[in-house]
C-alpha cells in the first residue's frame, strides 16, 4: 500500500477528546467514503461469492443469503476449468501475454534509448511522429493486417505469432514515450563518462540505462501485461484457431451459451481476474508510479 500512502495535510490531534471531536466532525466524510468503499467492493465480492455457491442456491436466492446460509463449493471452478475450456484458455492467455509483454519492453526500450541518448538528425521529428501515433486505434489494423498476414505465407494467424507482433506494435508508441521520458532524466554525466571511456552504445544501454530504469520498465511491463491479458478484440481477430483462444474470449463464448448461469460465469470471470489482481496488488507501486510519471510534473 505504500505507493498510495501519503500523509494528510493537517496537524495531528493531541488528546483523546480532540481525536474524537475530529472524527465526529469528519463523520460525513467517513460516511461518504464508507459508501464509496462499499460501492466499489460489493459488486466484485458478490460475483466472487456466487462463484463458490452451488448452482441450485444461485437459482433460488441471492448471494447475500450466504450470510445466513453459508454453503460453498468448488464445483463451478472445476467444471469451468475442465469442461468449459477455461483451463486451456488460461494457458493460452499466458502464451499470448508473456511474449507480448517482453517483446515490447525490449523493442521500446531500445528505441527510447536512441531517442534519448543517441544523437542523430531529425530525432525530435521522429519522436513527435511517435507521439502522434499514440492515438491510432487498433481498429485501423484489423482489415489490412489480416490480409497482409495471410499473404505473407507465414503461419501468423494460425499460431500466436501474429497476435504477438500486433500487440507489440500497438504497444510501442506508449512504451517509447514513457521510457524515453524516463531515460532523459538519467544523469548525463554518467553516460558521458562511459562514452569517454569508449563504451559502445549497446554497453551503455545494457549496463547503465536499463538497470537504472527498472521502475519505469517495470511500470510499462505491468501496464502491458494487464492490457494484453485483459484484451478481447485483438484475440478475436488475430488468433484464428479456436483452441488457441485466451480466457477473455472463452468467457464471451460462455456468456453466449449459458446466458444466465451465473455460477459458471462468475467462476470463469474470476479466473480471468486472478492473475491481473495478483500482479496488480503485488506490484502496485510500480503501476502507480508509471501512471504518475505520465501525468503530473
Amino acid at each position: 500500500m505504500t505507493a498510495l500512502q501519503d500523509t494528510t495535510v493537517q496537524a495531528p490531534p493531541r488528546t483523546a477528546s480532540e481525536r474524537l471531536a475530529r472524527f465526529v466532525g469528519k463523520s460525513p466524510v467517513h460516511i461518504i467514503l464508507g459508501i464509496i468503499a462499499l460501492l466499489w467492493l460489493v459488486p466484485t465480492i458478490g460475483l466472487l461469492i456466487t462463484s463458490f455457491r452451488p448452482g441450485a442456491d444461485m437459482r433460488a436466492t441471492g448471494w447475500w443469503n450466504v450470510i445466513v446460509e453459508p454453503r460453498f463449493t468448488l464445483a463451478n471452478y472445476e467444471r469451468v476449468l475442465t469442461n468449459e475450456g477455461m483451463g486451456q484458455a488460461f494457458l493460452n492467455s499466458l502464451f499470448i501475454t508473456v511474449p507480448s509483454t517482453i517483446l515490447p519492453l525490449l523493442v521500446a526500450s531500445m528505441a527510447a534509448f536512441a531517442l534519448a541518448w543517441v544523437k542523430f538528425p531529425f530525432r525530435d521529428t521522429v519522436f513527435l511522429t511517435i507521439v502522434a501515433m499514440l492515438i491510432v486505434p487498433v481498429q485501423v489494423g484489423f482489415i489490412p493486417l489480416v490480409v497482409a498476414m495471410r499473404e505473407s505465407g507465414m503461419p501468423l494467424l494460425t499460431t500466436y505469432a501474429g497476435a504477438w507482433l500486433a500487440h507489440t506494435a500497438f504497444a510501442l508508441p506508449f512504451g517509447i514515450f514513457l521510457l524515453r521520458n524516463f531515460f532523459i532524466t538519467l544523469p548525463k554525466d554518467l553516460i558521458e563518462a562511459a562514452r569517454i571511456d569508449g563504451a559502445s552504445n549497446w554497453a551503455i544501454f545494457r549496463t547503465i540505462v536499463v538497470p537504472l530504469s527498472v521502475p519505469a520498465i517495470a511500470a510499462y511491463g505491468i501496464f502491458q501485461f494487464l492490457w494484453v491479458w485483459n484484451d478481447l478484440l485483438m484475440a478475436l481477430i488475430y488468433v484464428q484457431r479456436t483452441t488457441l483462444q485466451p480466457m477473455t474470449y472463452q468467457v464471451t463464448t460462455l456468456l453466449g451459451t449459458y446466458a444466465t448461469e451465473w455460477s459458471l460465469l462468475s467462476a470463469a470471470a474470476f479466473l480471468v481476474m486472478v492473475v491481473p489482481l495478483v500482479v496488480f496488488i503485488s506490484l502496485q507501486r510500480y503501476f502507480v508510479q508509471g501512471l504518475l510519471a505520465g501525468s503530473v510534473k
Partner: protein, 434 residues
C-alpha cells in the same frame, strides 16, 4: 425399408467414386476438382446434443469414404469468425450457415465454392428434396448452400395433462386461439410464455402470422429486395400478433418477457414449477423442454405431459402453410473430399443417421419419419413433408437488418409508423449493398 440399407451406401459409393475419379467434373460444368488430402473440417455453431448428433453423421461419412471429417464448434460470433478465417487464408472446408444473408454476402465476395464448381450437378440432387427447399440456397442463379437440417416453426407447445385439468383443448383457428387464451385465464392460469429478449422469437411469430394471413406470394415479396415494410399487410400482422401478445396474456407482462430468454420462457411452461400454459416456437422446443436445461423428467412423456398443435389458420386463411427454419451448408474450399462430403449429406443415409439423433428434421424426402426418436418430432416431420407449402424463416433471409428489434418496439406499444419507415429504408439499403 430394408432396401435403403443397401441402396444408400451403394449410391454413396457411386457418388464418391464419380466425384473422386472424375477429373473433368460433373454434368454441369468444367469444374476441375482438385484432389483432397483425406481430411476436412466442418464448422457450425452447434454444441451439446446437436453437436453429438452431427458428429455421428461425420463418423458414418468416415466409414463410407475413408475421409476424416473434424467438427469445429464456434458458438458465438459465427459470421465474423467465418469472415475472419476466410480473410486470414485458413477457412474451414465446409461451413454450416444459419443466415441466408450471410450466405449471399459470402457468395458474392467470392468466398464460397458453388455446388457445380464442386462437380455436383444440381439436377442429380434435386430429387432428394421437397420443391423449394434447394432454392433457399441459390444466390444469383447459382446454388451455393444445401439445406441440411430444418425445424418446423409452426408448432405451439402445451401440456395435455394440464389442458385436461383446465378443461380446454388446442385451437385450430385464430379465434379459437384467442378464446383458448381467455379460457386459460378464467381457469386461473397465465396463458402465454414469451422469450422476447431473444428477439428472433418475435420474428418467428411475425413470419407465421404473416404467412397465414397473406399467403406465399406476399411472403416471398416481403422478404426480398422488393419488400415494402410500410405496407398495411405488415401493420395488420403486427396488430394481429398483439391481439394475443399483450400485457394480460403474457407471463411477466411485456416488460417481463422482454427480459426473458427463450429457454427460460420454455421453462415457464414446462419446468417443475410452471407458470404459463402455451409456448409458440420451433419444433426444437420439445427437445429443449425435455432436456437438461428445463425438465428432463418430461422425457418419455411426449404426448401426455408435452405436445404441440399446429399454428392456427387466420380468418380461414393459411391452411397447410408452414414456416420453417434451417441451416444450409456451403463449401469454402474446392477439393474432392469436400465434394464427397457435401454429396454424402444429400443422401437419405446421412439424413437417417442424423435424424436418429433426435435434434433435427432432415429435409431429405426419403428419410423414413419412423426413425425420429419421439412422437413429437415424427409429427413435426410429417407436418413439414405434408404441408401444402413451406416457407423459410424470413428474418434469416434478410440482409442483416434487425427485424427482431422492430418487433420488440411493437411489443412495447411504440408508434410503429416511423419505426417501420426507418426499417424499410435500412433494409432496402442493405439489400442494395449486399
Amino acid at each position: 425399408m430394408r432396401k435403403f440399407r443397401l441402396v444408400a451406401p451403394f449410391m454413396t459409393a457411386v457418388l464418391v467414386l464419380t466425384a473422386c475419379g472424375n477429373g473433368d467434373g460433373g454434368d454441369d460444368g468444367d469444374a476441375d476438382v482438385p484432389e483432397g488430402d483425406g481430411e476436412i473440417t466442418v464448422t457450425s455453431l452447434w454444441g451439446g446434443t446437436e453437436q453429438e448428433a452431427f458428429e455421428a453423421v461425420l463418423a458414418a461419412f468416415e466409414e463410407e469414404s475413408g475421409i476424416t471429417a473434424t467438427y469445429e464448434s464456434q458458438r458465438t460470433e459465427y459470421a465474423s469468425f467465418l469472415r475472419n478465417r476466410i480473410q486470414g487464408g485458413n477457412p474451414p472446408d465446409v461451413a454450416i450457415i444459419p443466415g441466408i444473408g450471410t450466405l449471399r454476402s459470402l457468395a458474392r465476395d467470392g468466398s464460397l465454392i458453388s455446388i457445380s464448381e464442386l462437380g455436383i450437378a444440381q439436377s442429380d440432387i434435386e430429387g432428394n428434396y421437397a420443391p423449394g427447399i434447394l432454392d433457399v440456397g441459390v444466390v444469383d442463379d447459382e446454388l451455393y448452400g444445401i439445406m441440411v437440417k430444418l425445424n418446423s416453426k409452426s408448432t405451439i407447445f402445451y401440456s395435455p395433462e394440464r389442458f385436461a385439468e383446465m378443461g380446454v383443448e388446442p385451437a385450430e383457428t385464430w379465434d379459437d386461439l384467442v378464446a383458448l387464451t381467455e379460457s386459460i385465464k378464467e381457469a386461473g392460469s397465465t396463458p402465454w410464455a414469451l422469450g422476447a429478449q431473444d428477439s428472433w422469437t418475435l420474428t418467428d411469430w411475425f413470419e407465421i402470422t404473416y404467412l397465414k394471413m397473406h399467403g406465399t406470394e406476399a411472403y416471398d415479396t416481403l422478404f426480398s429486395p422488393d419488400g415494402d415494410w410500410t405496407d398495411e399487410t405488415v401493420t395488420a400482422t403486427i396488430d394481429k400478433m398483439l391481439e394475443i401478445l399483450n400485457e394480460e396474456n403474457i407471463e411477466g407482462g411485456v416488460d417481463g418477457s422482454l427480459a426473458t430468454l427463450f429457454v427460460a420462457a420454455i421453462g415457464k411452461v414446462f419446468s417443475t414449477s410452471p407458470s404459463a400454459e402455451l409456448y409458440y416456437g420451433g419444433g426444437f422446443v420439445g427437445g429443449i423442454a425435455t432436456g437438461a436445461d428445463v425438465n428432463p423428467d418430461l422425457a418419455g412423456q411426449e404426448g401426455e405431459a408435452i405436445d404441440w398443435f399446429g399454428f392456427p389458420t387466420i380468418d380461414g386463411n393459411g391452411e397447410g402453410l408452414v414456416t420453417y427454419g434451417g441451416d444450409v451448408m456451403a463449401a469454402l474450399v474446392n477439393d474432392s473430399d469436400v465434394a464427397a462430403f457435401m454429396e454424402y449429406l444429400t443422401t437419405a443415409d446421412a439424413g437417417q443417421v442424423w435424424a436418429e439423433g433426435g435434434t433435427i428434421i432432415s429435409p431429405i424426402v426419403d428419410v423414413d419419419t419412423g426413425v425420429y426418436p419421439t412422437v413429437l418430432i415424427q409429427a413435426e416431420a410429417d407436418q413439414v413433408t405434408s404441408a401444402e407449402a413451406v416457407r423459410f424463416d424470413g428474418s434469416d433471409l434478410l440482409p442483416g437488418t434487425d427485424l427482431g428489434a422492430v418487433l420488440q418496439s411493437a411489443l412495447r406499444g411504440e408508434d410503429m409508423g416511423p419505426i417501420l419507415e426507418e426499417f424499410q429504408t435500412a433494409t432496402s439499403t442493405a439489400w442494395e449493398n449486399e
